[in-house]
Amino acid sequence: MIRVAVGAGAIDVAAEMAAHHAGGHGASASFVGRVRGDGGLTELFLEHHPVLTPGGLEQLAAEAAARWKLAALTLIHRVGSMAPGETIVLVLASSAHRAEALAAVEFLIDRLKTDVMLWKREAFADGRVGWVEQRDGDHARAERWEQSAD
């Protein structure tokens, strides 16, 4: 059971968790990413491609499902304008045993940073506005999944 969604509306984490957890699977892992107000950030704008962004998320979800035995997978990404504290991304994975669920969540959040068509623009209280540059660390983490069998 794979659920993938991209949208500008707020992510209802509790409702998504409840729906995903209703399966009562042996092991469920999750990751919630939120906007940080570091350095006086007032707005995060996430630009997306109407076709490539959902397509990329669906491809990542399919890749995780092929790689690990998952009972359920939820991958939800918000786009558009967000304030500090709001949820950007939610990843939920369930499996019979813990190793699969934990690995799938980590894989998905690492690869999301480098493989999906999303661009972050930050606005700060002092008026600065700028596009975020790609971080080397994100690539190093994402590439771990190329080298290892799991």
């Binding site: 996430l46 997306h48 491609h49 990404h77 950007i88 068509m117 661009w119």
Partner: protein, 85 residues
């Protein structure tokens, strides 16, 4: 050759438009050629495309390198490296 070009993030901002339809001159055969042509075409193009190493491209929804051949028609997306998640 009639291509729809779509721009994202700071490429879109520098170009001042989100998309346009173009017919590149003869000799523009690859993604790399297209970027080079746009960089010389006008001021917004120079601002957006003068550092080709910073530009990524997709042809009809599939990632394409600088050497990829342009199709006779289709959508070419041009954008900076992604920073999502």
């Amino acid at each position: 050759m009639a291509l729809t070009l779509s721009y994202f993030a700071w490429v879109r901002e520098r170009m001042g438009i989100a998309d346009e339809t173009v017919t590149p001159p003869a000799g523009v055969a690859t993604i790399g050629d297209l970027i080079g042509w746009l960089a010389e075409r006008d001021e917004p193009g120079t601002w957006a495309f003068s550092e080709p190493a910073q530009i990524r491209a997709a042809i009809d929804g599939r990632m394409a390198g600088a050497g990829a051949l342009l199709p006779a028609r289709g959508e070419i997306a041009l954008f900076p490296p992604v920073t999502g998640g």
